[in-house]
Symmetry: C3
Subunit: 282 residues, 3 copies
Amino acid sequence: VPRPVITFLSDFGPAAPGVCRGVMFGIAPDANIIDINHQVPRYSIRDGAASLVFALPHMPVGVHVAVVDPGVGTDRKPVALKVGRGDILIGPDNGLLIEAAELLGGIVEARVLENRALWLPVVSSSFHGRDIFAPTAAHLALGEPFASVGPTVPIDDLVRLVQPRATVVNGRLETTIVQVMPYGNVTLAGTTLDLTLAVGALVEGRPLRLTFAAPASAAASSEAAATLVEDTVWGLTFGSVPLGASVLMSDADGHLSLSDNQGDVARRLGLVVDRPVTITTR
Amino acid sequence: VPRPVITFLSDFGPAAPGVCRGVMFGIAPDANIIDINHQVPRYSIRDGAASLVFALPHMPVGVHVAVVDPGVGTDRKPVALKVGRGDILIGPDNGLLIEAAELLGGIVEARVLENRALWLPVVSSSFHGRDIFAPTAAHLALGEPFASVGPTVPIDDLVRLVQPRATVVNGRLETTIVQVMPYGNVTLAGTTLDLTLAVGALVEGRPLRLTFAAPASAAASSEAAATLVEDTVWGLTFGSVPLGASVLMSDADGHLSLSDNQGDVARRLGLVVDRPVTITTR
Amino acid sequence: VPRPVITFLSDFGPAAPGVCRGVMFGIAPDANIIDINHQVPRYSIRDGAASLVFALPHMPVGVHVAVVDPGVGTDRKPVALKVGRGDILIGPDNGLLIEAAELLGGIVEARVLENRALWLPVVSSSFHGRDIFAPTAAHLALGEPFASVGPTVPIDDLVRLVQPRATVVNGRLETTIVQVMPYGNVTLAGTTLDLTLAVGALVEGRPLRLTFAAPASAAASSEAAATLVEDTVWGLTFGSVPLGASVLMSDADGHLSLSDNQGDVARRLGLVVDRPVTITTR
C-alpha cells in the first residue's frame, strides 16, 4: 500500500511549514508530505494559484493543502474541493485553488470546512494552516470520507480570481504579466497561437517589441510612471540569444514567457504581476 | 509500526541540513525526518528556542535535534534531554532546548554526549550537527538506549537563557521583544492577562501606545538611539485594522504580538529581539 | 526492505524542486527523496560540484540527481554515471558530477540519457530537471537497469571543470577561492600541508596575510580593481579569535578555510568564487 500523499503549498516562508508538517504527521504518521513551495510571494493569491497550476498536474493523486490567505480571521470560508482526477484540494475560498482544480478534471463537489472534530482542539484567529487546513488534510489522507468535512457549497458560489486574458487589437497583442517565476522569468497571459494571430508567423530570431504600461501603483511617481520598452526576439531556447539578452518564447507549459539568457529580466526591468504589456512587431 | 520520528531545527541555512539528513538516513533509513526550520537567525539561541517552543508541542513524540551553536569548538557541552512526554531533545548545552523541554513535560534526565561509538568516525571542530548531533539522534531513533549516549549531568547544571518578563509598573506594561516572526510580526514578553492588569480591559479597537527604547547596540548612533513611538490599537484579528496599519493582539500561542495588516512591522520600524518596549494607553 | 534513496541538488530556488519531487514520487511512491541543497548560486557549476563533494559521501547509496545547467536547451548531453560505491549520478554533462563521482569510488560507466520511455511524455526545452532527470532517476531507483538509460559514452569524453590548485611559489601559497559557504566562510584551494610547505609550521595564533587579487570581472572599476589585504591568524577553531575577527583554519573536510568568528567574511570583504589569493607570513 503506497503512503497517502499530501502536498503542501503556502506563503509561510521557512518557519511555519514545519509546524504544519508536525500536525499532519501526528495524525497520519505514514503520509508522504510533498512540499510544493513555501516561498509564494506573501498574500499573492495569483502567484499561489499559478504555482499550483505549475505543480499539481505533476503530483500523485492525493490531498493538496494550499494556504495563501490574506483573509484569515475574516469571514472567508475554508473549503475542500473534490476534483475529477480523484484528488482533494484544501484551502481558503479566495480563488487560490480553482484553476488547478480545473486542470485536475474539474470540481466535482465543494464543501465548507465546519467539522471541528477534524481540526486542532484550539483554533487561533491567524494560523488556520496549522489549526484547520493541516489536520483536516491529514484526516482525509487517512481515509476520512470527504463528506465529513462539512456541508456542500454550490460550485458556482466559490470565489474566483479575475483571469487576465491576452487580446488581439489592431494587429498587436494586449496582454499582462501573470507570474514572475523564481529565476525572474516573466509569464504573460496568452499563448503562441494568440501571438501568431496578432503579429503573424513566429520564427526564431524574429524581432518583437514589448511595451510595458506604467504600473498602476506607481502612478504618482513620474519616473516609474513612464512606459517601458523592451526590444527582444522570438526564440526556441535561451540559447537563441546572447548571454544577458532577452528572449520571448513558449514556456514549459505553452504560455508566453520573457526571459534574460542566464539573467533575471524581472529584476532588470522592475516587472511585477498584473502589469499590462503590449507586443508588436518592430 | 510507524517510522521513528526525528525533527530537525538549525540556523544552517539551505546547504548544510541536507548533509545531516544524509547522515541520519544512513543510520536510520526508515526515519521520518521532519524539518522544523533551518532559517533561524544565525547564532540567535533565543530565536531558536522560541522556534522550538512554537513547533515541538505540535510534533509527534520522537527525537528532536536542534543546532544553534555559537559555541561550537569551545568547551560547551553537547547534551541530550529526556522529557516527561517521552521525547529526547539533542543539541548544545546553551539554553536552546530548555523552554521546549519544559513544555513537553519537563526534563526527566539530562546526559552529556560522550559515546563516540554513536558519532561519525571523524569529528570536525566546526560541524557538530553533522558529526555528533545527527548520528546520535539517528541511533536513538533506531532504539539505542538513552543511557548509552554518555553520563548524566545534574538538571540544575544545564545552561539556561535569561527569560525576559513583562512587568506592570505604574499602570503600564514594561516588556521586551522576544521574537521576530517570519512575516515580521513581533512577539512581546507577556500575555493578554498581563496587559489587562496594566491598562484595564482590552476591547477591539482600543487605542494603545508602544514606546520602544533605544536598542542597546545603537547607543552611539544619535538617530537610532532615539526612542520610537508606535500608536496602535488592540484587535482580535488582522482584519481589525486597515491594510498596512499595525495591531496588537494575542498570537496563536497566547502571547502579545504586534503586526502590520499584510505588512512587515519589524522591517518598517527596524525592530530586533531584546529591544525593550513600554505599552500604555493613549 | 529500505526505501530506495534519491538525493536531489539544484540551483532551482524554492519553487521548482517541488514539481520534480512530484514527478519522482509519481513513478517511485516509496522513494526516500533527500534534498541536498536547492540554493546553489544560479548557474554556478563549480558551487554545485562543491556542494555535491560536501554532501554525497555522507549520503546513503542511491541515485543522485543534480541540476545546475546553464546549457539546458543547447546540445550539452544529459548523462548518468555509475560509480564504484554503487551509486548512480544523474545530471548535465558539464562537469557538475565528476568530482563527487571520483569521491564515491570513481566512474565505472557513463551513459547518455536517450531512452525517452524513462522521460516525461512531453519534454520542454528549459526544464530538463522535471522532464528528463527526475523521471529517469525515479525509474532507476525502482530498479530499472542502468544500461537502459541510453548508450555508453567514453569516460574520458565527459566534460570536466578546470580545477583550481594551490601552488607554492617563493615561499608563499598561490591559491584561489573555490567556494563561498552558506555562512560566508570561504574555502580556498589547497590543504594544511600545502600551506605548511609554503610558510612553515602552523601553530595556533600564527599571523598570516591574505592578499586577494582584483576580481577579473571588476577590472574596469578602479575601486574594486584594487587588491585587498586581510591580516589574519592560523587557528584550530572559531574560538581562537575574538568575535568578528577572521581566522584561517582547516575546514571539516581538510581544506583551507577563512572565516569571521560569528560573522560573514565573504560579505565583509566582497569575496566571490575564483578570486585569486596569496597567503604569506607577516
